[in-house]
Amino acid sequence: MLIDAVFFYLFALRTLGGGILTITRRNAVHSAISLIVSLLGVAGLYLLQHAEFLFAVQIVLYVGGIMVLFLFVIMLVNLDQAAKERQFNRQWMVALAAVAAVGAEIGYFFYRGQDTFRLGDVAVPAATAGNTEMLADVLFQEYLLPFEIASVLLLVAVVGAVVMAKKRI
C-alpha cells in the first residue's frame, strides 16, 4: 500500500510538472519534450490502476505517434520568429483569474463531496481473464457500433489531414 502511494505521488509530480513546463516554455520543442514527460506520467498512473492495455496504448500511441507528429510539424513550421515574440496574449490575467475561480469551485466541491465519492461496495468479480482480454470482450460485444464509428472517424480525419496539408490535390 505504501509503495502504491509513493508511486502515485511520483507519477503525479511528473504529470503536473511536465504539464506546467509544457505551457510555460518559450521553445516549442522544449514544450513537446515536457509534454512527453507528462504523458509518460499519465501512463504510469494507468499502470498503478491496473489498466495495462491503456498503459501500452498511451506509450505507443501518444508518445510514439502523436508526439512524433507534433515534433515533425514543429520542424516543418518555422517557429524561430514566434519564439522571439511575446508568448502570452494580452488577456492572460483575465484568463488566469477565470481559471483560478473554476479551480476554487472544483476544489470546494471535492472538499464538500469527499465522502459521497464512495459509491458503495461493489462486489469484486473474480478476475477470470487479464485486462486486455476483458477489454476486448466488452469492446467487441457491447461497443461494436461505436468501435466501427470510431474507425470511420479516423478515416475521415486521415483524409482531412491530407487534404489540408497538401499544396495541390
Partner: protein, 102 residues
C-alpha cells in the same frame, strides 16, 4: 500516509485540466494550444480510469480508448490546418489570425 483513493486521482485530474485550460487561454502559439488540448484530454482519461477502477468494471477504460481515438483525430486534423495556415499567412500566433474579424 493516507491510502490513495479515487479522490486523489480526481484531484490530480482536475489540476491537469486547469493547467491545460490555462495553456489554451493564455498562449499565443497554436502548436502549444494543441498540446494543451492533449493535456485536457489526458485529464479526462485519468478520471475515466479512476472510476473504472472503483466500479471494478472495464467500461470506463473503453471510454478512455474512444477519447484517445478522438485525440488522435484532433491532432491530425489540427496540425493539418496549422500547416495550411502557415503556408498562407506565415504565422503561427493565434491572435494574428483575424480573417473573420471585421
Amino acid at each position: 500516509m493516507h491510502p490513495v483513493t479515487t479522490v486523489h486521482y480526481l484531484a490530480l485530474s482536475a489540476a491537469l485540466l486547469l493547467i491545460g485550460t490555462v495553456g489554451v487561454l493564455t498562449r499565443r502559439s497554436i502548436v502549444i494550444i494543441l498540446m494543451s488540448i492533449e493535456l485536457i484530454l489526458n485529464a479526462v482519461n485519468i478520471n475515466l480510469v479512476a472510476f473504472s477502477r472503483q466500479a471494478h468494471a472495464v467500461h470506463g477504460q473503453i471510454f478512455a480508448i474512444f477519447v484517445i481515438v478522438d485525440a488522435v483525430a484532433e491532432a491530425a486534423v489540427g496540425l493539418g490546418i496549422l500547416i495550411a495556415l502557415f503556408r498562407n499567412k506565415e504565422t503561427v500566433l493565434a491572435d494574428e489570425i483575424d480573417l473573420l474579424k471585421w
